[in-house]
Symmetry: C2
Subunit: 335 residues, 2 copies
């Protein structure tokens, strides 16, 4: 099991989160004793990708523990506020909203029950639901790949990546990966590369500018990334850099598969998705060391939006969809 498969843990008095900013060079766990601590950890990028989802699940458990002594109505209100605070910690990541919702649903379902018991059960339901969907998504993805597929990926697809590699092993298919380093945070060089290597997958690293070269030279069979969000009309919102790779894949005839559990019914099209801009100074540094002239500013749009014409297939936990048909997801039966 790769280290990052379980990098957010609930303990008796805290949520401990593996610090992905320092992994794999150091294996440091950040201890959060309040829901606010968890929100700050998410804001500070201690964890990202699916990490905030799990952190928010267990952050809600901490909020329930904090609110336990209040009158029921006040406790429920405090829990709602904690959920809003967690959601606000990363505006573009709507998995956090789902984590909060699953915990609140379980709390609201059983009014007389101890708040912490209900919230904890909700958190574990959310945990298992996410992992089951990831497993289904991984299996659907692998069915679309040839044996010995050479896969180009970008950033860090987290549970989707792990599930895809596990599904390939299960189905007897071999995969190899080329991954981009994904500046400025180097999720590809650190998280993806380390995790693939931990899973014994042949892995080659490139810088973010080399994707088009690899695609044009026939070095890969498919571009495969996660999506932070997919709109109902098939736009793929993902880590900045995805768009350039998708456009190059399209130009050189390489299919682009984007993985997402489900398209977002709240986002009819790209205009509905706010793009988070992070501090430009992060572009000017690498692992905390200044790597740019001290006379310039940086620009850091954290995500980009790939229009459906550059997307081949959107793979969900309910199977693959053409981008212009992804809205059918919500009509398709759960597997």
């Amino acid at each position: 099991m790769p280290t990052l498969a379980h990098s957010v843990r609930l303990t008796d008095d805290a949520v401990v989160i593996l610090d992905r900013r320092r992994f794999p060079f150091e294996r440091v766990w950040v201890r959060c004793t309040t829901a606010e601590d968890v929100a700050v950890a998410i804001e500070d990028m201690v964890t990202q990708s699916s990490g905030p989802y799990f952190a928010a699940l267990f952050g809600m458990v901490l909020a329930a523990r904090e609110a336990r002594h209040l009158a029921p109505a006040d406790a429920r209100e405090a829990l709602g506020r904690a959920g809003e605070r967690l959601i606000a910690s990363r505006a573009t990541n709507n998995a956090i909203g789902k984590a909060v919702a699953v915990v609140l649903a379980e709390v609201d379902k059983s009014p007389g029950e101890d708040l912490v018991d209900a919230a904890t059960r909700g958190a574990w339901i959310g945990d298992e639901r996410y992992r089951a969907k990831s497993r289904a998504l991984g299996e659907h993805t692998v069915k679309l790949l040839p044996d010995n597929a050479r896969v180009l990926t970008h950033c860090w697809a987290d549970t989707y990546l792990i599930a895809t590699v596990e599904a390939a092993a299960h189905l007897g298919k071999r995969l190899s990966f080329v991954c981009t380093e994904t500046r400025p945070y180097l999720q590809g060089a650190r998280l993806t590369a380390e995790t693939l290597a931990e899973m014994d997958v042949d892995t080659t690293l490139i810088t973010d500018g080399m994707g088009a070269s690899v695609l044009s030279q026939g070095m890969v069979d498919v571009l495969l990334t996660a999506a932070d969000r997919v709109t109902m009309d098939g736009h793929v919102v993902n880590k900045v850099g995805t768009l350039g790779l998708a456009v190059a894949a399209h130009a050189f005839g390489v299919p682009f598969l984007a993985q997402v559990q489900a398209p977002d019914p709240a986002a009819r099209t790209a205009a509905a998705v706010p793009i988070e801009h992070r501090p430009g100074t992060e572009v000017l540094h690498t692992l905390g060391v200044r790597t740019a002239s001290d006379k310039v500013r940086g620009h850091y749009p954290a995500f980009d939006i790939t229009p459906p014409r550059f997307v081949t297939t959107i793979v969900t936990d309910r199977g693959p969809f053409a981008p212009d048909a992804v809205a059918d997801y919500h009509a398709r039966e759960e597997p």
Copy 2:
């Protein structure tokens, strides 16, 4: 005048070369007292881009000083050997050959003259010739840009970049730049960003994965890069990363201008251009610090090849050409 405009200097007893591997964090000059020292400095990447051209010009002056006491025939032979040594220091950089040729031509033109005087004159002729071509190229480029043009550039266009900014000032046009950091060597973050800032040009830095985002969002009016080589059928060979930006510029309707003094008559098409692959370990480090998992290998194609369908205009010292007409360069009059 930006620091890098004159980063190779001839003194009474040496050639001193600004170390571009450490600029702008440290301003260290490497002192070369022999032509062999200059060749080693070029091999060690103390200077790159147009730097080796100037270093070779003045390296030939050092060779002439070393050979001054020899009999004329022996001195000429020693000078020829020094030229071959300099050319061998970077096999793919054919500007070095031109630098050696201009010095030898001046020496051979005046057999009775003091060797050092002739070689020094040759070096300064070569210096001025290169700068004049760059000025012409810069002026032709600026004529193609709107006022207040917002320019996306990649890597480090060296004298072409400086000449373009100077021409814009001369013609009363304002420019602003977005530049990519250009991993793994960070030429964009260090050389381009610092130089533009030194020239009071508004400059924003992005990582190599953000170009398509900037292009798709209407943040720039033009993509402008140098080209290490342009083939006679309009392929642009330049620092890896150029291809992805060119494909994205094409997809989002932004023109791509590539600057080169002249297309290479020895390269009819892309197949004639060998692509240098550098050690993959360079992708795994940033400024000498490990930035990737220690379990993976790196892949480092130093250049990529942009097909003519993704290039709008090739700008030369003799003016602009459509990529499919760039072979006409050699028929066009010098300005």
